[in-house]
Symmetry: D2
Subunit: 375 residues, 4 copies
């Protein structure tokens, strides 16, 4: 059962503490509180888990601060889209808005290497008015003998360069709970020069202990990628681990499925699931075209496959894009062959803008069509 | 080795027969001739297969009618895109042009049921200026106890209705070589009221005997669908069976891969392979959004998944679309739940037109970008 | 609805024709008759398909020749294992008995090449008292430019050599209905020197037209292999196409699933489905270790992977084995690298005999355990 | 490069410290020491990683304590089977020996529930002379709202009961590094009443941080299960993470692949990879029939599928078996439907013993065959 509280409920006020007293008296019920900072207001929800069958909706609705009560029994309790709860998950992090209505592109380096490259990347982004990027410091690698990323050592100068270049949000994969502290600490040291979106990769989609740790903090939003060889339902349930611990600022990332049926692409591109995830849940949906395609091959029309699948994600409503770029792909420490070039950055953003505009026209046409056919 | 003949070579003329005499003398070499009727001219190619290692390129180039000689050793010999042979596969069938540059939409009935529905479907198409449709008469079904299509009995009235409604090409699956004769016969009876594109479904992608039969006739173009559980390379090799028997008027169809990783979609949508097939081969590429998605679910933006994945195919350069419509989906004999409605037909075509225009802008932008960066 | 007739019912007798007259009067009911020659008697079943809901079981049971009536609604109507119909599918072909209780090994050449090799293979088999073999004449190949088998040309001398060497049954893949006639004709010419089990390969599992043709003849038993990328249920439904046309002498073949998750094996070995197919249907189950594994690699215990997976199939109750051997694998035209050697033939059969004996002990132990625990 | 030290080298002695001094002077070389306690002696290996190209084999062989030097460049450096290093990974833990030559069966509870059931399980094992079991305390579950295991709370009484019933090794999944301490602590409190094999499940196969933590401790041996949707090669590389951190006492576990092609089994049983893992690496190989099959279905021969696939693993050389049992499956908190019954325990062990004996005869036959054919 979800209690949706009145907008901007003061959680330090009397009414709220009276509410909590009432709830704490309920037998066999676990209470979990969620607070989501939207563009203009703070929304609070209280989840009652466990023995809630006997609680009356009207009774709960009469408690202080409560605006609406939703009984849930469906999957994806918190992040899911339910009949009585279609409220968008919308959040503002460090000045950047994320929801199923927005589009944010995170072009950047798959793996941080040297300050010069990081600086060049960010400068190019700033010139195009971009405030988001991706930067990998902690790299999970198939072999223990491969380069594992520069780790926390590089965080100070990466964050400093981000601040210098006006970057507001860096998507950064973490593979261990201690990395949250590493990032927190380095951000503090940098005077909060930038912000970080914690990224959980496909190898850790069902690393539930990591999900719980990341879910327990509410500072950083989270990008959770779909698992390699599990169903979409299982991956969405994994996102629910984050939410059930208190963090609903979750973006769900599609990155393809591992199978040789995808050849010559590296993974089987799964961006047809963009509309599915948006239907089943209220999460914004991210696509990762670089890792899905894994090469710089061109189609016969002169367009890169990476750009084609990016367009496929966006034309169907994707809300976020991760894209690998590198000033000198030949020198990239990880996944150089799939990286786009600095020269291609503006071209890439222009292509995305064109397709996004078309997507918005499609949405308007759907509204028009529906209006015509329901009147 | 391919001998590309001069445009509009007269195959009943002296020069041509002299050429053939020369070729017939070659030892251990099989000769296969291909003639492709383009928009404005007829292109002929002669394939020399077998023991061609000792033939000199200059020697062959000096033979009558020969414009150019290409030595091939790559996969997909005839349909593939090779360094020395990027000539488009472009063909005109019954007034409709097919190539990697065109887009043709085949909306229609998954399975022919009653004349009334077929007529309604075609009338709606004609009103929108459409001349292509899909109509299933021979239906391969998982269980022998399911409805297997009306078969050849329905062909006369289907073709007659097509003629009445200005339909030029009907995509129609066949599952046995005798169906070619059935279709040929019924078309003749109808006074060639319409045309047919033979469709080979995913269950028969590697039914090589059927491919050979279909490849031996040159009357009808062929739509070959990707196989369920085989690699893309294997499916493209299957297309080569058609071409190696003499019919290069082949369109390759993407229709998703069967795996529960696709859930809740019926198949794992594989339209990210649109640019791949266009790169590896010279065939036009078709997408089948209805069978890939298999439902009428909507995304949170009010757009049907079927329309989203259609847009994904087109934004990446698809050349043909198969789409299931039905006047009364509840009464459809096969796959009713995924069918779009007559009311949605114009909306569907408008959406496709919008996305296709955007695709063309993307191609132009790629040309512009390339020009800027190579000067 | 199935009418199980009395054993050894004379289908040319009066009682039978009276029965048929009665059945032919039923409205909306299709009649399909099945006759299975067992070790000692002929069993006949009549399938009533379609509008059978209104037929009474007692009424039907009172018709002449009818021993028992089973109402069916389940999948795999004819070949399936149903509550009321657990009667084994058991048949004798050319002196060899096939059922879920027997084990027959078909060692032989993947592709027929020269008489010398065929003769050597068969001689070795005869020395070991074997009367079955595999010999591929019609080879479906991924590329049209690969060797496609010697086809019907080789049948006369293959059959003659079989006769000479006491071979009773040759498993031989066919890919077109005309191959049945080719085989029939060549067998006749040879004076029925041997027998043939028609094999339908994984590429044609859902080539329903071929299945229907093969199902319509009752001379040859059929080995149907599981399809590459379809579910087990779909493959078992394909077997039902054979039975629904009249031929229930069907053996179901497991040959692995195509996916790189199987690496370094060629296919993902699926012999864990041996007990499943035996539970769901009454068909004997065949395994194809050679094509599943696709190499001659050894485990650290000195045993070939091919022999290990063979043992895995047999320890779980497999009833038939296809195995590639070749006198000179280096000269084999198809799949040489996976072939076992003549030297290994006795060792291979000894291994199978050892494991089969153990399987039989396991079955006895299961009976003993059940007896102890139900008394 | 691996330096294999003389047997029973005293690592606190002078010669060893002289060796280490020499190695520490090498530039750009990381040193990793491995010590494996075998049945009768302690084997030590020193891994030199990084810039080892310039080191001479003879030079290194001349250093104190060094018996042999192996230059490695292959995958699976430590755990792999290399030309120059076929030395078995053999270890004794708490009196139980593990290697590619042994077989240990771990029957037990998928999830610990109440002391009564744990005690019953262990008592039954003791009666059969078994000293190993499985007991799940930390359960990773798809949904955050499902029972997650009793966690560290149950460890004291589980270990106490193990001690009481003579259990030497409990296989227990952990999902977080802190669980190692929890287990260590509880074992100490219990007076080392038993031993634990740490199990890393399929969801954490590429949770490299967990692997590193588990690899850094050398107290407990580790059972690493294959990952769901990754290749075998990737899973074997994950095992190498454990070894590269210092713990080579690793057993590799096969547990099937997640795909609906496995239906009606829960996972696609992959025990054909038993001989493969034994060939590619020196690790003992474990099979998990219960989770692979996921049901209590019987074949037509009266044998449970779970027992059939167990037999398939063992007949091909499996070295360890995990099997779910439960005194009252209906009351099991997790995966009850697949559990075997107490009544079936002896029957299960007898079946395993019979098949293992047959396996051993097969190995002997392979040796005999090889001897005959190389003389």
């Amino acid at each position: 059962m979800i209690l949706i509280l009145k907008a901007n409920t003061d959680t330090s006020g009397n009414a709220y503490s009276q509410l909590m007293n009432n709830l704490n008296e309920l037998d066999g019920v676990t209470i979990s509180t969620h607070s989501i900072k939207g563009a203009e207001q703070v929304l609070s929800e209280i989840y009652l888990l466990g023995n809630t069958g006997s609680l009356g909706i009207e009774e709960m609705q009469s408690l202080p601060c409560v605006e609406r009560v939703v009984r849930i029994s469906d999957e994806y309790r918190i992040l899911g889209r339910h009949k009585d709860n279609e409220r968008p998950i919308e959040f503002n992090y460090n000045g950047v808005l994320f929801s199923q209505q927005t589009l944010n592109v995170f072009a950047g380096l798959c793996a941080v290497d040297v300050p010069e490259h990081v600086d060049q990347m960010m400068e190019h982004l700033q010139q195009l008015g971009q405030v988001c990027t991706r930067m990998g410091a902690f790299k999970p690698r198939t072999s223990p003998y491969s380069f594992q990323g520069h780790g926390k050592k590089c965080l100070p100068w990466v964050f400093e360069l981000a601040g210098k270049n006006g970057i507001k949000v860096i998507a950064m994969e973490i593979t261990h709970e201690s990395h949250i502290d590493d990032i927190n600490h380095a951000l503090e040291e940098s005077g909060q020069a930038t912000g970080v979106m914690l990224q959980i990769g496909t190898r850790n989609t069902q690393n539930f202990e990591l999900l719980k740790s990341v879910g327990r903090q509410q500072e950083f939003p989270v990008l959770l990628k779909r698992g390699f060889g599990i169903t979409l339902e299982e991956s969405l349930n994994a996102a629910e681990y984050l939410a059930s611990e208190g963090n609903s600022r979750v973006i769900f990332g599609l990155r393809g499925m591992k199978t040789n049926m995808a050849d010559p692409h590296r993974n089987f591109v799964d961006f047809a699931h963009v509309p599915v995830v948006r239907r089943l849940t209220r999460m914004p949906v991210c696509i990762d075209p670089s890792h899905s395609v894994g090469s710089r091959d061109y189609s016969s029309d002169g367009i890169l496959d990476v750009m084609h699948v990016t367009a496929q994600g966006i034309i169907a409503g994707a809300n976020m894009v991760l894209a690998d770029f590198h000033p000198k792909p030949g020198k990239a420490l990880v996944d150089g062959p799939q990286a786009l070039l600095m020269d291609e950055l503006k071209y890439f953003f222009d292509d995305i803008a064109l397709v996004r505009t078309t997507y918005e026209k499609r949405v308007q046409a759907a509204i028009d069509y529906t209006n015509q056919h329901t009147n």
